[in-house]
Every structure is written in C-alpha cells, then in structure tokens.
C-alpha cells in the first residue's frame, strides 16, 4: 500500500468515526438540565415513571386517556413526534427471529430547565430556572433535540 493510499484510508476512517463519538450529548453534563414531567404512569412493582402512554380514540388500557401528554420533559415548547411500531428482526447473533416493538419519541424545541443558580454565596448546587433555546421558533438551531427510546 502506498503512503497516499494509506492516508486516504485513514481520512476515511476519521471522517466516519467523528459522528459516532460526538452524537450523544450527556444530559447530566449540560448547562441547563431538562426537568421530567411531574406526572406519569404508576407501574405496579416499579413506581411512577415520568411518562404517559398516549392512545387513539376508543382506546382501552394500557393506554392513558385520549390526548395524554406525549412528552417526558416539562416546560417544553416545540416539535413532538411519537408512535408505536412492530416489526421483525432480520438478523440476530443467535439465529433466532424476534418480534420487535418500539415506542420512539422525538422532541425538538426550547425548554425551561434548571441550572446552578447564583445566590451570592456558595451552595450545594441549588438551581434556578433557565431557558434553553428559542421558544418562538421550534426549528431554531439553538434548540435541543431529545429522543426517548
């Protein structure tokens, strides 16, 4: 392999490795922390999960009431998409085929979360409300994208 060919290969690998490293932005390290919705479903044996299960008209449990909150983040304003799906695995390491069920939700928008406040004296991290993003334009590049999987 010539030096130029090797260089091209390394560039190719670098180009495709950067998104893998940078894609997930750890929420606990963020400046303004999103806050979970205060309500949610009470799951026996587990407790309250801060998420609802929206459903269609004419629904029956385990859906929540018609028009139930689809978001898991409170003080949020923006785009929301969600849906339940089913499918099949096409390949598995154990050679078996599995049915697949998903509920993947996407949120893009502004939110009011919590950040460490300035109270004029050192604190343990006491929070104050802070706005993240632009609530007047859901597609503002300053707005955040969250995915619930």
């Amino acid at each position: 392999m010539t030096r130029s060919t090797l260089g091209a290969l390394l560039l190719f690998l670098l180009a495709f490795s950067v998104p893998l490293v940078a894609q997930i932005q750890p929420i606990p390290n963020g400046n303004i922390q999103p806050v979970p919705i205060p309500g949610g479903d009470l799951v026996p044996g587990y407790g309250i999960v801060n998420s609802f299960v929206p459903g269609p008209p004419g629904q029956t449990p385990p859906f929540d009431p018609i028009g139930a909150e689809p978001n898991v983040i409170t003080n949020f304003k923006g785009l929301v998409a969600m849906g339940y799906t089913s499918g099949l695995t096409t390949m598995t390491s154990d050679g078996k085929q599995y049915a697949v069920i998903t509920d993947i939700r996407v949120y893009k928008g502004a939110y009011t979360g919590g950040k460490a406040g300035d109270f004029g004296q050192p604190t343990a991290g006491a929070t104050m409300s802070a706005l993240s993003g632009n609530p007047e334009e859901y597609n503002d590049p300053e707005n955040s994208v969250f995915v619930e999987i």
């Binding site: 894609q23 997930i24 806050v35 028009g67 898991v72 949020f76 923006g78 929301v80 619930e148």
Partner: protein
C-alpha cells in the same frame, strides 16, 4: 401472546428523566414534505430484559441487571390527517391532560441494529406503525402550556403547511407471528401477535 425477552432503552437518568438522550440537531432532518427523519448511531442503551425489569437474584449496587449495548437506528415520521387542537383540561401538574398544542396522527417506520458491548448478542431489523397509534405536531407544557400566542405561530408554521394529508392507518396491520419478542421499549401498547 409472546413473552418479552429483551428491553433496550437508555434507561433512567438520576433525575428521573425517562429513557431519554440528547442528540445533536444534525441527527434530525425536517423535510420539506412535513416528514421528519432521525438518524442515530451507537446510542448507549441497556438491556433490562423486561419492563418492569426483573430483580437480580444476587443484587449488587443496582437491584436490577442492565446489560450495556449500543443501538443504531433510522426512523421517519410521516404526518397524517386528523389535526386536533389540544387545550389543557386540567390544572393538576401531575395530570396527563395539562398541556396544549396542535397534533396530527402520524405513521413511522425504520430500521435498527444493536449489539451488546461484549458482543454476546446482536440483532437488526425493521419496524413500522402497522396501524398502531402515532402522533406528531407542536406542543407546549409546563410554564408554556398557557401561552396563547403560540396558537397563531403554530398555524403559520411552514412545517404544517407543507405536510401532506395521509391516512393514519395507511399501513396495513401486519404484526408478524414469531416466537420471541425483543423490545426497544417496554410497556408499549401495540397490537401484538397471538
């Protein structure tokens, strides 16, 4: 009904935020036809096997066993008909009905691949709404839920104007019959196979 054998999710943040990750804006594409596409690569998730997860026979620090894995997926949401305006009908902060917005029925479909970090299990496949419920649109909750000016802004959105009207149940319900179920998320009320 099949039994659940796997349950992949980012699991819970210490603050209770439910199975959520933050991704860069570049992961989400909002298309001119009103659809949106999400592309995720190697999202750290855990396999909790079921939801609620089983308690470990010999508990460690965590009472449940979580197997670290990586998930990649592509998913596209299509806006359908049946636009509805949502208004808060409760002031109870814990209520599911304390939010506002404009929502449409939607369908979605995609493909995924995942593998345990230790390489002992991997799977890939496809998924689609198949007649199950989905919705997309604009919402306001919490401190924004009573922002009345937002109604007009939502109506003016180019995203809303461009979106085609599709049947929310255009995809025929074709839930397959298989022996096993691997969930990307538990407690999902889809039409499951008999």
């Amino acid at each position: 009904m099949s039994s659940q054998l796997h349950d992949f999710s980012p699991y819970l943040l210490p603050n209770g935020l439910f199975w959520t990750v933050k991704v860069p804006n570049s992961a989400l594409t909002i298309n001119a036809d009103g659809s949106i596409s999400l592309h995720l690569v190697d999202v750290p998730v855990d396999d909790a096997f079921t939801f609620p997860p089983p308690v470990q026979a010999v508990p460690g620090i965590s009472p449940i066993q979580l197997i670290p894995a990586k998930l990649s997926l592509d998913i596209t949401y299509l806006k359908g008909g049946n636009r509805r305006h949502v208004r808060p009908t409760s002031h109870d902060p814990l209520s599911p009905l304390n939010w506002a917005g404009t929502m449409w029925d939607s369908t979605n479909s995609g493909r995924f691949s995942l593998s345990y970090d230790d390489g002992s299990f991997s799977a890939s496949g496809n998924f689609a709404s198949a007649g199950n419920f989905g919705e997309m649109g604009f919402e306001r909750n919490g401190v924004f839920s009573h922002d009345e000016d937002s109604n007009e802004n939502e109506e003016k959105s180019t995203f809303l104007e461009a979106a085609p009207i599709l049947s929310p149940h255009a995809v025929v319900n074709s839930v397959p019959k298989t022996e096993r179920t691997v969930l990307l998320k538990g407690r999902v009320p889809v039409h499951v196979n008999e």
